[in-house]
């Protein structure tokens, strides 16, 4: 894919990245990161209804919206066929496939970034400006951490799915 003659960047992709086990490990790590983000949300929701929560601030549906946006964005991004993104440079593909794919990809990234920004918004507007103690502020912090983990998970999944091009032919031998 990137031969040494016509590559764009000064540092080449390290050789150990083109390994099928690295790729599979990346997919496992992406699943684990997504689960970590998901369980931060679950933890906050269960803690807010548990007897340990001293305050009367609870998790409402507003706190779930950024997480839902991030998860939808991750679903959209990773359900695109990656090879269609460069489809216009090949002759056999129909017109505008790459454009559509890039548009859907843009929607996915917008959802993901919107989820992260929304979690910061919820934290600031619901918890930070009301001077709650740290136990209640944790609801907002965990929301940001959860959305950041979902974003990191989709980045890891994207990168590790782009590794695949070089190793398939080695496997065919």
């Amino acid at each position: 894919m990137d031969s040494s003659n016509n590559r764009l960047f000064r540092f080449s992709k390290p050789e150990w990245l083109n390994n099928s086990s690295v790729r599979n490990g990346g997919v496992y790590v992406a699943g684990a990161l997504f689960a970590a983000g998901f369980f931060f949300l679950i933890d906050v929701a269960s803690f807010s209804r548990s007897p340990r929560n001293g305050s009367d601030v609870h998790i409402k549906f507003v706190d779930w919206i950024p997480g839902i946006c991030s998860a939808l964005g991750m679903l959209v991004i990773n359900s695109i066929e990656k090879s269609r993104l460069q489809a216009d440079s090949f002759s056999y593909s129909g017109s505008g496939v790459a454009w559509k794919a890039r548009f859907v990809l843009f929607l996915g990234f917008a959802l993901l970034a919107g989820g992260l920004a929304g979690s910061v918004t919820v934290m600031v507007l619901k918890y930070l400006i009301k001077d709650y103690p740290i136990q209640t502020l944790y609801f907002g912090i965990a929301n940001i951490v959860a959305n950041g983990l979902v974003m990191l998970s989709s980045i890891v999944l994207w990168v590790s799915q782009n590794i695949e091009d070089d190793y398939t032919y080695n496997l065919a031998l």
Partner: protein
Amino acid sequence: MAAGLKTIIALSFVLAIGFLLVILSSALWHKYWPLLVVGIYVVAPLPNWICQRCANPDDFMDSSSNSAMDFGRFLTGFLVLTGIALPIVLAHSGAIEIPAMIMSIFGGLLIYGTIISFSMFFQEQEEF
């Protein structure tokens, strides 16, 4: 790597210790939430197996088979971290105690490690 009799005996010992830890962690405090960990770790290897059957590994040109395998791996990673995170969530909201959390995490990891190593031995035997 021969899956001898010693390996099977050692694996069964580890499995028994794992179950002992999880059952103790729930029975000592009379709160039976940690038993969910056993169920999660038993289910955890299933997506890989199912998706390996769905995907056709001989077909190199078709990338859709690869994505099915990737989905299975993603689900496996999700379930493994679920088994670790669930006791922490339960302990944080006060449903179980902190020692019960530690015991159930270690027991669950032992159970999952047993399942994974057993399937690895089994598969390598089957290939030859």
